[in-house]
């Protein structure tokens, strides 16, 4: 059974999410990947304000393919999250509450998520046409020169994802594989 969640993603909502939960995300989320993260953190280093307010938002690690005429967006699946690990704690420290991506996170990111009460979702990597169906609106809000890597504000309806790391640090990449292997060993 999927849990429905709606943005803004407040701390109260984060605390209800546990590793292993299937969720359908609705509301406003923002795309940002390598190049945009680099710029955001550079602004923080210089003490400047960011082009988006990250408090209680969800960032989707994604660089969509171009929209065909008459479409809102092209294919839009998640990219590998570990490349954003050097930047993520800085954004978590100023209120980022959710990240959607795929793959492993560093110890530093997980510690920062526990400290700041944030959650990490995985969307299915490579299922980008399917995921694009849940995107209802898309608008570039910063770094247009970066094309697919620009920051986009997306309106989503029931975007499918799985809670992989919750705000207590429980990690489905470890638990899921362990549960599966335990089930195999028990049936032997």
């Amino acid at each position: 059974m999927e849990k429905k969640i709606t943005t803004p993603l407040t701390e109260e909502k984060v605390k209800t999410l546990k590793a292993g939960d299937s969720v359908l995300i609705s509301g406003t989320i923002y795309t940002a990947r390598d190049a945009a993260h680099k710029r955001l953190v550079q602004l923080l280093d210089e003490g400047k304000s960011l082009p988006i307010d990250v408090k209680d938002i969800i960032i989707y690690y994604a660089g969509p393919s171009p929209a065909k005429p008459g479409h809102v967006i092209g294919s839009a699946g998640p990219t590998s999250s570990y490349r954003m690990d050097p930047f993520a704690p800085r954004l978590l420290d100023i209120g980022l509450k959710g990240m959607i991506g795929k793959g492993l996170r560093s110890k530093e990111v997980i510690e920062s998520m526990k400290k700041n009460k944030a959650v990490y979702f995985a969307a299915i990597g490579g299922a980008a046409a399917l995921i694009s169906k849940s995107i209802k609106k898309a608008e570039v809000v910063a770094y247009e020169d970066l094309d697919s890597e620009a920051i986009r504000k997306l309106e989503v309806k029931d975007l499918p994802a799985i809670v992989v790391i919750d705000s207590e640090g429980n990690n489905l990449y470890e638990l899921g594989q362990k549960d599966y292997l335990d089930s195999i060993n028990q049936s032997k």
Binding site: S65, G74, G77, A122, I124, G125, A128, G176, Q177
Partner: protein, 280 residues
């Protein structure tokens, strides 16, 4: 002597780039379906169903399966009796990539310089491999390669004393290190032998071999099957969330090597393993 005009090459490459990204080849789709049928772990089965659904949406709506439409890897096999006329072969291929990525609404993911990183805005240049063979056929394979999986690839110069066990252990280690990052279920391309660069090239070539074909050498066919079983008992599963479907296939290619060496390269591909070809 057969003449092939560069305009034919450009048009073919254009279409192959688009087709490869919109329409998954049957061998890969069939293998995913087989794995979905055999998968008992609920999370894993659910993910494989979604992946199959995604393949159908892309096909029916003519859109890329994955937003990472890759760097265009182009394998050109030229018969020595073929004469390319009307311009440069390399320019013709890159023009085809440009047209395919722009007109097919594919993502432009190539930066002109690895350090200064400015997007070329048309996904060129391609990475092109040429092979010259007897005959008068020109075969072009386009394999758009996503970097989520490319980044999880590794190469190792083993010692001859490491032997078969060393090779097996290294391949398994690469898959384990990659874990959920390369979007499992993956295809594992392995190159063994040659030189440092040849091993990597063989691993890439292994990824364009249809999943329905095994290595023609019985020894390596058995090794492919053994490694696939081992990998699928690791428990990584689809998207790394547990299950038996970690890899769809292990494809191994080999080449003679030096008395002092045993190079092994492992090139990983995701479940969106794309390859389309044409013979001119």
């Amino acid at each position: 002597m057969k003449e092939v005009d560069v305009s034919t090459i450009t048009k073919s490459v254009r279409n192959l780039c688009i087709d490869a990204n919109y329409y998954l080849s049957e061998d890969v789709k069939k293998k995913i379906k087989e794995c979905e049928d055999n998968e008992n772990w609920p999370t894993a089965k659910g993910i494989l169903k979604k992946i199959l659904e995604n393949i159908d949406i892309s096909k029916n709506e003519h859109m890329p399966m994955c937003q990472d439409t890759g760097m265009a890897c182009v394998f050109v096999t030229i018969g020595q009796d073929v004469h390319v006329v009307g311009g440069s072969l390399e320019d013709a291929i890159n023009e085809g990539v440009k047209q395919g990525y722009v007109e097919g609404y594919l993502r432009k993911s190539v930066v002109a310089d690895p350090i200064n990183r400015v997007n070329t805005k048309d996904n060129t240049p391609a990475v092109i491999y040429y092979e010259i063979v007897p005959g008068d056929k020109l075969n072009i394979k386009v394999a758009p390669k996503g970097f989520g999986s490319e980044n999880m690839s590794q190469i190792k110069m083993l010692k001859p004393a490491d032997g078969l066990e060393g090779v097996k252990n290294f391949i398994i280690k690469v898959v384990k290190d990659a874990g959920p990052n390369p979007c499992p279920p993956i295809v594992v391309g392995v190159g063994i032998g040659g030189t440092f660069d040849r091993a990597a090239n063989l691993a890439k070539k292994a990824l364009v071999r249809p999943l329905s074909e095994r290595n023609k050498n019985k020894f390596y066919e058995d090794l492919e099957n053994e490694l696939l079983d081992k990998i699928n008992s690791l428990g990584i599963g689809p998207q790394g969330l547990g299950g038996k479907t970690t890899a769809l296939a292990v494809n191994i290619e080999t080449y003679p090597t030096h008395i002092a060496g045993l190079p092994v390269a492992v090139n990983i591909n995701c479940h969106v393993t794309r390859h389309k070809e044409i013979e001119l």
